[in-house]
């Protein structure tokens, strides 16, 4: 039996005054303990979707249940279990790190627990900065403060809206490690990103959103197996003018004046069979390069095609 979703979105939509459709009717179910990555270009509706769940945006229709609580009626119970790290570096510049994080815990109705806050700040390498004014911190450190504030009340569901936007590579790796640790602690993480590498690295499931429409939701591995492509570049010992007829079942093309044979196919396994068939057809080769398509290629295919269709229409 499938586990009850901790976030259950049904028919959720948002049309702003003026008629802009930010989110078309959307269904989405999130399972406990998973890392779900919502991918989409800028303005796709990612932040709107998060805002609708967290209470920052008023829905035009639909229903959201968090841990079984309807967010429109039992919002106190729902919000108490949600943490949100916004995309913008929205921090009170006049505040200091420790009081700011302590304030966040109290705001969510949790009793003071200095030991927990200390552990949290240490885990984010913020303990040494606890008495510093937030305005004096670097962008990356400010982002960590936002994460600490979102985690201060020990949420079960954490939204990270573009968590690594504008941070350096080292910090990005730290963030990924932190998200992994949160998952190990049982926290469900929903992150939006347009760094596909981030989703590829961490996510269990992927959702692709574009122009306010959730286009697909799928297990990352299944998605990459289903939509992923293999490309092989075979350098020939002697140039070919035409592709031999016995290789007709493969998706092949000649390049570099017949010196290179390009293959597009479903997987590495087929490349091995192709090589045997090449030898059988008397076609010798001197080099081979294979490239598997990344999640980014799949994303570009999905979203790019959509945009091209939109432009053509």
């Amino acid at each position: 039996m499938e586990m009850e979703p901790i976030l259950d979105i049904r028919g959720l939509c948002k049309t702003y005054a003026g008629g802009t459709v930010a989110l078309k009717p959307t269904d989405l179910r999130i399972r406990k303990g998973e890392i779900f990555a919502l991918l989409g270009p800028n303005g796709a509706g990612k932040t709107t979707l998060i805002g609708l769940v967290c209470g920052l945006v008023r829905p035009s229709g639909g229903e959201v249940r968090v841990f079984g609580f309807d967010v429109s009626k039992r919002w106190r119970e729902a919000r108490a279990r949600i943490g949100l790290v916004p995309q913008e570096l929205a921090v009170d510049m006049f505040e200091y790190v420790l009081p700011s994080v302590t304030h966040s815990r109290a705001l969510f109705g949790r009793p003071a627990d200095p030991a927990k806050i200390e552990r949290l700040l240490k885990s984010l390498s913020l303990w040494d900065k606890r008495d510093q004014r937030i305005s004096a911190l670097s962008g990356g450190m400010k982002r960590r403060v936002l994460i600490a504030k979102a985690l201060a009340h020990e949420p079960d569901l954490l939204f990270l809206d573009e968590p690594t936007a504008g941070v350096d590579v080292e910090l990005r790796r730290d963030m990924w490690a932190l998200i992994g640790e949160l998952r190990d602690q049982g926290v469900t993480v929903i992150l939006t990103t347009h760094y596909i590498e981030e989703a590829e690295e961490m996510a269990d499931r992927i959702g692709v959103i574009d122009k306010g429409e959730l286009k697909l939701v799928e297990e990352k591995r299944a998605l990459m197996a289903r939509l992923g492509r293999t490309q092989a570049r075979i350098t020939l010992a002697a140039p070919l003018s035409v592709i031999p007829g016995e290789l007709g079942r493969y998706d092949l093309a000649l390049a570099d004046e017949g010196n290179v044979l390009l293959y597009h196919g479903a997987g590495e396994g087929e490349v091995a069979v192709l090589l045997k068939d090449l030898v059988a057809a008397g076609v010798d080769f001197t080099g081979l390069g294979i490239r598997e398509s990344s999640l980014e290629d799949i994303f570009v295919d999905l979203v790019g095609n959509n945009h091209r269709r939109g432009e053509a229409a």
């Binding site: 209470g55 008023r58 916004p86 929205a90 921090v91 109290a106 705001l107």
Partner: protein, 256 residues
Amino acid sequence: MTGFNLRGTFAIYRFELARTWRTLFQSILTPVLTTSLYFIVFGSAIGGQIQSAGGVPYAAFIVPGLLMLTILAESTANASFGIYLPRFTGTIYEVLSAPVGVAEILLGYVGAAATKSLILSAVILATARVFVDYEIAHPLMAAGFILLSAVAFSLFGFILGCWADGFEKLQVVPMLVLTPLTFLGGTFYSITMLPEPWRTVTLFNPVVYLVNGLRWTFYGKADVDLGLATTLTFAFLAICIGIVAVIFRTGWRLRT
């Protein structure tokens, strides 16, 4: 969490008051300095030429008016700034996504603004004692009226802070509406000193009732009746609560 979020309320309240302590000079000393200047100019310099107003020595006469001037200005400014600043910086997301509702937010923001006004009121009354020897005839009524005015105008300030979409707008109403109404509201004179038709016109100025209501609690006499002043202040409070209720129901300027 199912009920009222007391910790969340105190968190907002403490956060707002902490801002006051961080800007102590601006928050406390500036109003004290301004009020002292009013006492020097109006109480001592000009007041020396005027024997009494409304049957009260002039220097003492202006004490309730100056106090009300500070309460209106500070309550409005503090509450409007308190809610506008997080809107401006984007930190409002935290309050809006927290398990706090209209009651917690109002008690936090408006409570902190009103508290600061009450502290200032005490400081100003103490400052006034340096310049003039005055008595408060009905201290409990005075405290109640000061509290009522502070809460009502803190609510008004909260509405202003929600409405404003720039720092300029935040200043417009206090500078162009509240200050003129207060100066023309009998702070420095009794409306009986005005010729007609200005005496009648002045009665349409709501601040007249606030200033004279407070003055009545000080000296047992004023240009308007305390009951009428209190009723109108409660009415103003009720209108502000109604507007705030609409703001939260519709999410106007808070939620998109």
